[in-house]
Symmetry: C3
Subunit: 157 residues, 3 copies
């Protein structure tokens, strides 16, 4: 993963570790932003010219305006979503650019209240611009959306 440790300063190595933490925060922010319908949190993880690509019928979204609109599209498809992202890896092409991969499991509620299980992989490009790490690109590879099930998601008791 780190092929040139010997030639890098401690400062550079710490910077990469901090970048990993910042990128992990992006991964989490995607779920928090979408699931909690927190548009500020969601929009805060994307660069202005980012690409958000969801093959398989959901659409491709380019740039701030379209990415903001993606949340309206998803809000119509799902009444509620719950995403859990795991298996994250990041590989640095330079101190300011990394590619990453993570797997998510989600429970999504249809407008009629029925529930689907969803599995997907996020294929990401992260870039640091003006000192801030954000997504430059996210491609969502979805594996399945289960047939809707009649399982009531009750409030806690």
């Amino acid at each position: 993963m780190t092929t040139s440790i010997g030639t890098r300063s401690l400062e550079e190595r710490i910077d990469e570790m901090e970048s990993r933490a910042a990128i992990a925060d992006i991964i989490a922010g995607y779920c928090e932003g979408t699931d909690r319908r927190d548009l500020d949190r969601f929009m805060g993880i994307w660069h202005d010219d980012a690409e958000y690509l969801i093959p398989g019928g959901r659409g491709d979204f380019h740039g701030t305006e379209e990415i903001r609109r993606s949340q309206e599209v998803i809000g119509k498809v799902w009444k509620e979503t719950y995403h859990w992202t795991t298996n994250h890896t990041a590989h640095f092409e330079s101190p300011d650019r990394a590619t990453g991969r993570s797997d998510a499991f989600a429970v999504c509620v249809h407008p009629d209240g029925r529930v689907s299980w969803v599995s997907c992989t996020y294929h990401d490009v992260y870039e640091r611009r003006s000192g801030v790490w954000k997504l430059a690109r996210r491609l969502v590879e979805r594996y399945f959306v289960s047939a809707p099930q009649d399982v009531e998601l009750l409030p806690p008791f």
Copy 2:
């Protein structure tokens, strides 16, 4: 996330990275402690005066004695639990105090053997005291506990 990098020493920056690892261990220890019914592991993640708050009917637990008792309460509600915690973020207010957020998915087994799916967010405060990071506060925001389902959780084959 780290607004004052320029003014911090390498030592301070490494310390924060190590603190992140210690906090991740707490997050995992909560699941391991509860799910494996390992009371020592569970109690080891809380400060003596910690608050463990579970709105929605489960109760609020203050301090070591009550937090220990929480495990008896939960042990009566659920025959078995399996928690998977993801989407963790932590923000440092000082070198010795951070707030955090994570999302968990859980499969919980009722005393009659039926199964519920659970979704929640943990809202945390971590503090380092005498050199050891522990939870000062955890608020569990539960979103749903699914209606019990008749799905047998068989031993591996």
Copy 3:
């Protein structure tokens, strides 16, 4: 977790942080390798003499050849698998050896298309040899494999 911070150099402490990132990549690679049936990715996480132990009927696999064969065994049992690994902890016994623990949730598809939910813990030993971190040992403690359910995992829409 780090009992001798005072006596360790910044270099040693950064090395451990980088080792944590390398180990997290192994954890993710196991899921990616198995789920995507990417044998190169899967085999790349194991040392030549690693032990891969799955009590409960699946088998024990010792060394490269047997571990490669494990993927054929698992490929016959499951038509598809989706693993999400969480709750990871790692404790360093030395700069080049650590033990770890993580919990996985999985959705696995039987050859007939029915679906089981799986829960397990991975008990790991990681070793760095010739500068590369890999698994020296993984013991899979499986808690349940749910009775097969008739839930269609449809392609995305």
